[in-house]
Symmetry: C2
Subunit: 159 residues, 2 copies
C-alpha cells in the first residue's frame, strides 16, 4: 500500500504566494499573503487606499479580524524594498503600486482626461540606457527605468 501524500496546510495559490515572500526574505504572514494576492489579482497599478479597500473582499480576511491600516503601509513598504512591487506615477494625484512580474519592460499609457490606463511592453530602453551612462559624469549603472506616456483615449478625444 503506497504512502498517501501528506496533506499540506497551504492551498496551491497560497504556496505560490508564500514562496514569493520567502524567496525575498520576508516572513509569510496573513497580512502579507493577503496584500500580495490583491496585487496579483489587480490588472493595473493601485494605491495604498485601493489595497485597503480590496482586502475585506478576500475570504481569508473575512474569516478573521481585519488588517490594520498601519500594517498595510508597512507591508507595501517591505514589498517595495524587496522589489516585489514598483511605484508608478500615473498622475492620478497619488502614487500607485504594481507587482513586478519578471524583469519586465512594462509601461503605461494614461488618458489625461479620464484616467484610463493601458499597458504596453518593450520600450527599447537598453540602447538609451547605454548612451545615458556613457554621457553621464556621475552614474555607473542603471537597474530600473520608468516610461509613461500621457495622451487622450479615443473616447475623450471625440468629446
Amino acid at each position: 500500500m503506497p504512502t498517501p501524500a501528506k496533506p499540506t496546510r497551504l492551498t496551491p495559490v497560497h504556496s505560490e504566494l508564500a514562496t514569493m515572500l520567502a524567496q525575498c526574505g520576508l516572513k509569510v504572514t496573513r497580512p502579507r499573503l493577503a496584500v500580495l494576492k490583491i496585487f496579483k489579482n489587480s490588472t493595473h497599478p493601485i494605491s495604498v487606499q485601493e489595497v485597503a479597500a480590496a482586502l475585506p473582499s478576500l475570504p481569508t480576511i473575512q474569516a478573521s479580524p481585519p488588517i490594520n491600516s498601519v500594517t498595510i503601509y508597512r507591508v507595501i513598504d517591505s514589498f517595495r524594498q524587496k522589489g516585489l512591487i514598483r511605484e508608478v506615477n500615473l498622475r492620478h494625484g497619488h502614487l500607485d503600486y504594481e507587482i513586478i512580474e519578471h524583469l519586465d519592460d512594462h509601461h503605461h499609457i494614461v488618458c489625461t482626461s479620464c484616467g484610463l490606463v493601458e499597458d504596453f511592453y518593450g520600450c527599447g530602453a537598453t540602447s538609451l540606457i547605454r548612451t545615458a551612462i556613457k554621457n553621464s559624469r556621475n552614474f555607473a549603472t542603471v537597474n530600473e527605468h520608468t516610461v509613461e506616456l500621457f495622451g487622450l483615449c479615443r473616447k475623450c478625444i471625440s468629446l
Copy 2:
C-alpha cells in the same frame, strides 16, 4: 532735451516671469512671481515643501508678509494645469515639480542609494510613441511622456 525713458515698475526678470504667467492666462501676482522664480532658479525638480522653504529667501518676499501655504499649493496646481511645470516621480517618497523649458525631451537618472539626480536629454521616444499608438486599442494621441532611469552613482557603487 530728450524725453527720459519712462520708468517701469518691473525689473527685467520680473517682466520675463510676468510674461510667462500672462501668456497662459494667469494673473500676475506676487505669490505666482515668487514661486515661478523659485522654479526658474532650481537646477532640479523640487517638492511643494521645498518651494515653501525656498520662498523666504527671495528679497520680494522678505520685504512683505510671507506667502500662505494654501496659496503655494494653489499656485503650483495652477502652474501644472497650465503646463508651466510638470510633475516627476524620482522615488524620493513624494512628487516633485520642475519647470517645462520648451517642448523639451528632458529626463532624469536617479541614484537609488543617495538620491542624486542628473539630467539627460533626448530619449528618442517618438518612434516608441508611434508604435505604442499603433498597437493600442484605446489610445489616439500621446502629448507627453516621462522617462526616468534608476541606478547607482559612482560614489555609491564603490561603497
